[in-house]
Structure formats: structure tokens, C-alpha cells
């Protein structure tokens, strides 16, 4: 089960949805918050990513509401989606642990 690693926007979208079902605008603001303002998703990028994630079965539609006479559709993480996020976190964690350890060693000898 070794797939390509997730790109950052996709990873952040999955992270945002891990907190619960959200709609498009909610995901955008959440991603900006998580990344500390660094990553600002626009609607085109967000929906292209959601489309791909939905086709792969990692996210699905949770519910639809009408707010201010506009359609608002909520998305949620599926179990395979949560697993994928977990796997990605594990991969990054093991990478960062090794990198941090080596940097500390580097600092000591420098």
C-alpha cells in the first residue's frame, strides 16, 4: 500500500475534514488557519481536489443546507480517507524524527 505522498493542499484539506464535516468555505478558512496563513486555497483548487478525493473514496458528501438562499454542501472524511491521512502522518512523522535527530547531531559537532 505505498502510494505517492499527498500534496500539501490535499493533506490540509483532509486535516481540516478530520475535525468534522465542513462546507467549502469552512474548509478554506480552516486550511488557512492550520497552515498559519501560509496556504490560501482558492475555490478552483479546492473543488478540483475535492473532486479527486471523492472519486478515490477519501471524502464524501455529508449533507446539504440552504443558507441565505444559497446551497451549502458539507463534506466529511470517509474511513479510508482517515486511514490515508493517518498513513501520511506516520510517513511524515518518521521522516521528521530522523531529520530532527540528525540536525541535533549536526548542531553538536558544528
Amino acid at each position: 500500500m505505498t502510494e505517492l505522498s499527498l500534496r500539501e493542499p490535499t493533506f490540509l484539506i483532509l486535516t481540516a475534514l478530520a475535525a468534522g464535516a465542513q462546507h467549502g468555505y469552512g474548509i478554506m478558512t480552516d486550511v488557512a488557519e492550520i497552515s498559519g496563513g501560509r496556504v490560501r486555497l482558492r475555490a478552483g483548487t479546492l473543488y478540483a481536489a475535492l473532486n479527486r478525493l471523492a472519486t478515490e473514496g477519501l471524502v464524501e458528501v455529508d449533507r446539504e443546507e440552504i443558507v441565505d438562499a444559497r446551497l451549502r454542501r458539507y463534506y466529511r472524511l470517509t474511513p479510508p480517507g482517515a486511514q490515508r491521512l493517518e498513513a501520511e502522518v506516520e510517513r511524515m512523522r518518521s521522516n521528521t524524527t530522523v531529520a530532527a535527530r540528525r540536525l541535533r547531531l549536526l548542531g553538536r559537532t558544528a
Partner: protein, 373 residues
């Protein structure tokens, strides 16, 4: 909610379009489609429309009454709608309202027009959505592609044959009719969804073409490659796929018109125009989905006898590769030495390999995870 609000013609038409999308995805039988479209076109309230779509998989937009927007927001919204036009129609039917809501909410107060960065982002998003595989009915893309092939290949052969025969003997319409009788019969069988009869007819045509001279030498076979290759591919398509029934589920009248136009472009003598038409249609198909890419590949295989023409007209002038003297449209497939054969078939084969890899990669990606139920 607004179940009791009355529907407009536009709402009913949208519901009917959504039902056809679900039919194309394989969620409804033809009888169910007819029944539900009739019910949708007669529905007087939104509750009625929702009943018709109730058990079909999401996402499908909730059809709701949308109040009039103030004129300022209207201009921004119209700007966004124009940009959303780049998205595929099927995608827009499901997501347009939702994306508009997000775009308008995210726009700061007093914004009048979409920004350049926003426009670029939306157009780029549209391109990516077009390249992504859509929700499948569960059938692997190559089987669906074969099913579509089983329908359009006989149509292409009929058009090309009819044009050719008319050009050879333009003042003998009865002769033309006699010559196109067999391809027309095959087209009729396919359109009537008679898979087994169509397979038998295709096999019969294949055998007749292969053995009609009395002696079946290899040379005779190559002289008839332009008939034998497509016929054998048609037999495979009919046998190894769900068949014309599934193919006709996927195809629409727009596709049918495109196929006929492409076939006419190929069979007239205006080679640059024909090639351009084929290239544009092929690019659109390839971008649309992995199904499109498989289809393009299969059609390229059916057109193997025409590969030397393709190479000659694209690479020929710069590389000084020209068709050997006496090479007609129905010329032999294996003649005149490797110096010409190599390049003539290499370029299309290379393109075919690229498409095969891209199509297989997309097919495998979309089946890595089971779709959420």
C-alpha cells in the same frame, strides 16, 4: 423546507438533465429513466422533484427556490458564472450553485468582478476536473470503451465506405446502395442492441472480405487491411464488452454527430482539414476522461492501415518522408521496404503507447480505493 414551492420550467428541465446523467452512469434502466423523466416534467412542486431523485446517489444538488439577488452581487455572480462555464456540463449541474456560494462568500465586501488570479484558478481547476476520472458505474474504463467502440466503429465504417463509393461512382446511386448494404446492416443491428446477431454479421463480413477473391494469400489480406482490421476490432468489441446496449447508454446525440463529422472529415480528400478535426476531437476525448483515452487508443488501432498517412502528413514534409508512388487509401499495409515502414508506423505507435500508459494509470488510480457507499 421548500417542498411545497412551485417549480419552474427551468427547474423541471434541470431535474430531467440530472436523471439523464444518472442513466448514463448506469443507475437507471431505460424504462425507469422514461418514467422518472415524465414524472419530473409533470412535477408541480420541489417536493415532487425530490421524490424522483430521492434514491439516486449524491451528490446531486438540492433543487431549491433561490430568491432574487441584489444587482451588485448579481454582477459579481454573473462574472463567476461565466468562469464556471469552463467546467464540464455534468460537473456544473451538480456543483455550480455550491461553488458560486463559496466564491461569493469568500469575496470581500464591495467586490465587483472576479480577479485575474481567481479567474486563472477557476480555469485551471476546470482543466483538472476535466482530466480527472468521473464517478464510474464500477465497470473498468476499457470495457466501457469497447462497448462504445462497438457502436461507433460500424458507423464510421459506413460513413467512410459510403463516401468512398460515392466518389468512385458518383452517378450510379444503385451501385452505391448495393455496396453499402452490408455495413448498413451491421449499423442497424448494433443500433438495435442485437449483440449476438451483430457479432455474427461482423464475423460473416470478415470472412467474406478475407476469402472473396478465392485465394487468401497474405498479399490479398494486406490489400484489404483497411476492412479487416476494423472488422476484427469490432468483433472483439462486441464479444468482450457489455456491447451496444451499454455503449448506447454512454453515448449521446452530440457524440453521434461528432463521430459522423469526424468520419466525413477523414474520408474526404481534404487531408489537412481531416487531420485537424481528428486532432481536436481526439484531444477533447482524451482530456474528458480515462474512458476517452481508451476510446482514442482503440480507434487508433482500428485505423492502423491509415497510420502511414498520418505520419506522412505530420512528419513527412520536415523529414522528407513521402508516400511511395501508387499508395492509395486502400493500399497495401506491408510494402515497399523498412525504410518507410519504420517511421510510418513508429510515430503513431509511440503516441498510442503514451495514451495507453496514461489511460491505464488513470484507471488504476480510480480503483485504488473502493468508492464510498
Amino acid at each position: 423546507m421548500d417542498d411545497h414551492f412551485r417549480t419552474s420550467d427551468a427547474d423541471r428541465d434541470r431535474a430531467a438533465a440530472l436523471l439523464r446523467d444518472h442513466f448514463a452512469a448506469g443507475h437507471l434502466t431505460p424504462e425507469e429513466l422514461d418514467a422518472r423523466v415524465a414524472a419530473a416534467l409533470n412535477a408541480k412542486t420541489f417536493g415532487g422533484l425530490r421524490c424522483v431523485l430521492a434514491d439516486l446517489p449524491v451528490p446531486a444538488p438540492v433543487l431549491q427556490y433561490v430568491s432574487r439577488m441584489p444587482p451588485e452581487a448579481g454582477r459579481l455572480e454573473r462574472g463567476y458564472r461565466r468562469l464556471l462555464f469552463f467546467y464540464p456540463a455534468r460537473y456544473r449541474r451538480v456543483h455550480e450553485e455550491e461553488m458560486l456560494a463559496v466564491l461569493v462568500t469568500a469575496a470581500p465586501e464591495g467586490k465587483r468582478r472576479p480577479g485575474i488570479a481567481e479567474a486563472a484558478d477557476l480555469i485551471w481547476g476546470a482543466l483538472r476536473v476535466r482530466c480527472q476520472p468521473s464517478h464510474n458505474s464500477g465497470e473498468p474504463a476499457w470495457r466501457d470503451a469497447l462497448a462504445v467502440m462497438s457502436v461507433i466503429l460500424p458507423v464510421i465504417m459506413l460513413v467512410v465506405f459510403a463516401v468512398q463509393e460515392t466518389r468512385i461512382s458518383p452517378s450510379a446511386p444503385l451501385w452505391v446502395l448495393k455496396e453499402v448494404a452490408a455495413p448498413s446492416a451491421l449499423v442497424a443491428l448494433v443500433l438495435l442492441r442485437l449483440r449476438r446477431l451483430a457479432t455474427l454479421a461482423a464475423v460473416a463480413m470478415f470472412l467474406w472480405v478475407a476469402f472473396r477473391s478465392g485465394d487468401s494469400t497474405l498479399l490479398w489480406a494486406t490489400w484489404n487491411a483497411h476492412l479487416l482490421v476494423p472488422l476484427s476490432l469490432e468483433i472483439v468489441a462486441l464479444a468482450a464488452s457489455p456491447g451496444p446496449r451499454r455503449g448506447l447508454q454512454i453515448l449521446t446525440w452530440k457524440h453521434g454527430a461528432l463521430v459522423v463529422i469526424a468520419a466525413l472529415a477523414v474520408s474526404t480528400a481534404w487531408y489537412p482539414v481531416g487531420l485537424i478535426v481528428i486532432a481536436v476531437i481526439g484531444a477533447a476525448m482524451a482530456l474528458a476522461s480515462s474512458l476517452g483515452r481508451w476510446l482514442l487508443m482503440l480507434l487508433a488501432i482500428a485505423a492502423i492501415p491509415a497510420w502511414p498517412f498520418f505520419t506522412a502528413f505530420t512528419l513527412g514534409p520536415p523529414l522528407e518522408i513521402y508516400l511511395p508512388y501508387g499508395w492509395g487509401f486502400i493500399g497495401p499495409v506491408l510494402p515497399y521496404g523498412l525504410g518507410f515502414i519504420g517511421p510510418a508506423y513508429l510515430l503513431p505507435a509511440a503516441l498510442l503507447a503514451v495514451f495507453a500508459m496514461a489511460a491505464r494509470r488513470e484507471s488504476r488510480r480510480s480503483f485504488q480505493f473502493p468508492p464510498a457507499s
